[in-house]
């Protein structure tokens, strides 16, 4: 199943760069298995990133995002030790939330 996300959040000159590596198959629904049966779509559909419970980024994704999606973004106003949490929900209703502190 979906393993933990790897999140790095680093503050430099007042700007926090957050890098997230999610663990997800991101199946498009277009592929077929070896016996020719279509593999059902299974991909992250929504993502929310928060800085101390304030939303900094939301995303809607399709199966066209690569397997084990990577996302990097930047925001202002974060300080070392602040909490960053990233949550996603996939098209089968599975979800996951992970947190880190800004380094």
């Amino acid at each position: 199943m979906a393993g933990p996300m790897r999140i790095r959040a680093a503050e430099k000159d007042g700007i926090v760069e957050v890098r997230v590596l999610m663990s997800h198959p991101m199946e498009t629904g277009q592929r077929k298995d070896s016996s020719g049966n279509p593999i059902p779509a299974h991909h992250i559909s929504e993502l929310t990133a928060k800085h101390n419970d304030k939303v900094v980024l939301t995303s809607e994704m399709s199966g066209s995002v690569s397997t084990n999606p990577y996302l990097a973004f930047k925001f202002k106003g974060g300080a070392k030790g602040d909490k960053i949490s990233v949550s996603w929900v996939d098209n089968k209703g599975e979800s996951r939330t992970d947190e880190v502190q800004i380094a």
């Binding site: 399709s62 199966g63 925001f75 202002k76």
Partner: protein, 155 residues
């Protein structure tokens, strides 16, 4: 003998029509699109995608930078970055013109978030990658061609 055969055929024919009626009623458009009901992500053409995102085809802007390789050896993992210098950039969408479903992902920024992000997308074949930016309620776009080589033998 012949009579019986006719009965059997009738029975089969009847069941066939019945079955066809049931399946005709059962398969609704909603079920066909159940895989992804979000309209933005089912768009098959650029104009459909732009319409679903709420804009006619927008003007190209030099203030949007798409960072992507000129040649991607592995279409399953194409790093793409989008940065916008347009003030008050609120949203970014990444589109791949020749993918079966064009819109790969959309992003919406909080007020302190810089419009500068990177991700990785899949590309089925060589195509233009579009970045659509919404700023102050208006839409802008930029595009960049990414060549996808098959089998990693170049060219």
């Amino acid at each position: 003998m012949n009579e019986k055969r006719r009965d059997v055929l009738k029975a089969i024919g009847g069941a066939g029509i019945f079955g066809a009626l049931i399946s005709a009623g059962m398969i609704t458009p909603a079920m066909v699109h159940a895989a992804d009901a979000r309209k933005v992500f089912t768009a098959k053409t650029l104009d459909e995608a732009f319409a679903a995102l709420g804009t006619p085809r927008p003007a190209e802007s030099a203030d949007i930078t798409i960072t992507a390789p000129d040649i991607a050896e592995n279409g399953a993992v194409v790093p793409v970055g989008v940065a916008s210098k347009i003030p008050n950039t609120e949203q970014v969408a990444i589109l791949v013109e020749k993918n079966p479903n064009m819109v790969a992902a959309t992003f919406a920024f909080g007020e302190n978030t810089l419009p500068d992000l990177q991700t990785r997308i899949k590309m089925g074949q060589t195509s233009d990658v579009y970045a659509l930016v919404k700023a102050d309620g208006k839409f802008y776009m930029a595009k960049k061609e990414v060549k996808v080589t098959l089998g990693g033998c170049g060219g």
